[in-house]
Symmetry: C2
Subunit: 147 residues, 2 copies
């Protein structure tokens, strides 16, 4: 199962004509291990052995290829998460709900959720939607249970 995951990462890099380097595999396994988006500062702190500049370049490359997507949290900080399988180099599927917990600061990407149809004023031609919500995530909500 772990082997399989590793292979998946290498296949992913192959697919996008990116070399399978240590730093890139590290980033992939890191992001895959979390169900929430990770902020760039956090990534830097976790993967101290990767140069900060290299991290920038890896994240940018991955985003361009549609391997990960970037979402800004309430502070305008970039957070990164693996794209769902629906993402492609062409079509970027990050039109889901991003839930920003005000307590633990985690950003949850709720892929499964369907956005209800939105009607815009006349003239606007939307190509994509992203919905942000903030509040308490299940874990923090539980911790505050009963006020």
């Amino acid at each position: 199962m772990h082997k399989k995951a590793a292979n998946t990462f290498e296949a992913l890099l192959d697919k996008h004509h990116l070399k399978k380097t240590g730093p890139r595999l590290q980033v992939l396994s890191m992001l895959s291990s979390k169900k929430v988006a990770t902020s760039q500062p956090d990534l830097e702190n976790i993967m101290v052995d990767i140069d900060r500049v290299t991290l920038y370049r890896i994240l940018n490359a991955f985003e361009e290829k549609g391997i990960i997507h970037k979402v800004f949290d309430l502070n305008g900080t970039a957070n990164y998460a693996m794209c769902s399988s629906k993402c492609g180099e062409d079509h970027h599927h990050d039109e889901h709900l991003h839930f920003n917990c005000t307590t633990c600061k985690n950003v949850y990407c709720l892929d499964e959720l369907e956005l209800p149809p939105i009607s815009l004023p006349k003239g606007f031609k939307p190509t994509g939607f992203t919905l942000y919500a903030n509040g308490l995530c299940p874990k923090c909500s539980l911790a505050t249970e009963g006020k």
Copy 2:
């Protein structure tokens, strides 16, 4: 009508116990004159006579008081717009749709639009929603008419 607007700005500052200074009135009249949110870089370029640091402080103060609200565009850049009348120091009403035009880069705050009710997975306790859309605004859409 213009006089009235100026008075409105002064009243607004009074209401929030902020001194009526030149820079602050400038920012208010600037932001009020546009129906779209303005990015901080743009504000700096437009109001070159206001010190950059002063602008930071004014924008922060206004945001804290609920006079303006901040919205991040697709590039993670902060954009500012006047709050609708519904905003207060306590309750911040920026739960409307922000439309980010991919051509002219303008950010439209579509206050009037009601967000459809969103149901979240069990456990999430949302306190606020913000919806972003990107695509073509009416003006740019018109310019591209007929492909």
